[in-house]
């Protein structure tokens, strides 16, 4: 199970807002949580259980991060990324940083649906089940999330005139 779902859990945690520095601990906590609740997990529901647990972990991590930023307000200023320079190729690390920036600006509700649909490629039915919300709500959030994401990426691109991916 660890082998099959380790990347999935790590990816969900990271994209849902767990900072890189906290990732190892939260991955461990997620799997330990499974060991605690093993009798409650149906064999065909392991992924869903891990997903729900990981989302709770990420929510906790986001709250902790937000509190830290309130205390260390100057850190928020330092976090502002230098703009991409023209001709600057976008390597994987920089792309990850920019993705973090964009996702952090989205509301939690939109971010979660966006991550599960666009990055995890779950169906809307699966997302509705995992989040325990109606499919119509998933569709509505997804529509808004996609528009929000694209607006933010356009703003990122337009303000920097970056030539990326070349």
């Amino acid at each position: 199970m660890v082998d099959r779902y380790l990347d999935f859990v790590a990816r969900v945690l990271r994209n849902a807002g767990t900072p890189e520095a906290e990732l190892d601990d939260d991955v461990q906590r997620t799997f330990i949580a499974v060991s605690n609740r093993l009798d409650d997990v149906r064999p065909d529901a392991e992924k869903s259980f891990l997903l729900q647990t990981a989302l709770r972990m990420a929510a906790h991590a986001r709250r902790t991060l937000a509190r830290r930023r309130e205390v260390h307000d100057s850190d928020a200023q330092l976090r502002i990324q230098a703009p991409l320079q023209p001709e600057q190729a976008l390597d994987q690390k920089r792309a990850r940083e920019l993705l973090d920036e964009v996702l952090e600006q989205m509301t939690v509700e939109l971010r979660t649906v966006f991550v599960l649909y666009e990055l995890e490629e779950l169906s809307m039915t699966e997302i509705a089940a995992a989040l325990r919300i109606p499919q119509g709500t998933v569709a509505s959030r997804l529509r808004r999330a996609r528009a929000d994401f694209r607006d933010r990426v356009r703003a990122l691109s337009g303000s920097t005139h970056a030539e990326v991916g070349s």
Binding site: V9, A10, D24, N36, L38, A95, S157
Partner: protein, 245 residues
């Protein structure tokens, strides 16, 4: 309800494609995997030694985790750990991995407060059914000395599997009520891997070994220092249980 085409299939820009790619391609590192296995008290066995289908591997995993969860003492050697498998995974984060059978696990260990308990109380919102209390996942039952010693290599970053092997020797000794052997193994680990990636896990083992060898004051001092440095570590509750904090 029809599902919209994913953005990555029709990206608006190269920047959008790059960001979506970055999100999709994120994968756990070998270090994350190793630490997760250590935290669960599990040892991975290569498919070549323990051939198993994915489903069978999962069954073993579930069985192992169930034993962790209910605190059943399992005695028996895992056999020969094959570190090559982990070694293969240590330096990269493959998208798909071969199935791994997992054999476990708990040995008699102090567990007044467990890592799992901390997880449940601090992080996991209880859901429909009551949680099963569990004991701490403790050293695996890998045969003592079966693991190869860390070899000094000319590379600047020794393989993670070598670190795992060294720590597993210590864990096995501790599980066999041989704290002196565990401390010797940990001394070797510290010598062989002065900048070890698993040094936090090694410190937790050392605290346990000191406590079990009767050096309670030394164990307590190290435990207090550990908790000051890593108050939110997933291993913090295990450290507390070792020294009764």
């Amino acid at each position: 309800m029809s599902e919209p085409t994913r953005l990555l299939e029709t990206p608006e820009s190269e920047l959008e494609r790059a960001l979506l790619d970055a999100g999709r391609s994120y994968a756990a590192s070998g270090s994350t995997r190793a630490k997760t296995m250590l935290a669960l008290g599990l040892t991975a066995v290569a498919p070549s030694i323990a051939p198993a289908t994915t489903a069978a591997g999962d069954s073993l995993m579930k069985a192992a985790l169930a034993k962790v969860a209910i605190g059943v003492l399992v005695v028996g050697a895992v056999g020969i750990p094959v570190w090559r498998y982990l070694d293969h995974n240590a330096s990269s984060a493959p998208v798909a991995r071969a199935p791994v059978a997992v054999q476990a696990v708990p040995a008699a260990a102090p567990a007044a407060e467990t890592a799992q308990a901390k997880v449940a109380s601090a992080e996991i919102a209880p859901t429909e059914t009551p949680r099963v209390e569990s004991t701490e996942p403790a050293p695996s039952t890998v045969a003592r000395n079966a693991a190869p010693r860390a070899e000094s290599k000319p590379t600047s970053a020794p393989p993670l599997t070598a670190e795992l092997a060294a720590l597993d020797t210590a864990r096995t000794a501790l599980g066999h009520s041989d704290p002196a052997g565990a401390l010797a193994a940990l001394d070797s680990y510290a010598h062989d891997f002065p900048r070890g990636r698993l040094k936090i896990e090694a410190e937790v083992l050392r605290i346990g070994a000191l406590a079990k060898s009767g050096q309670t004051e030394a164990a307590r001092k190290r435990a207090e220092a550990f908790l000051r440095l890593h108050p939110d570590s997933v291993l913090a509750s295990r450290v507390r249980s070792y020294v009764g904090l």
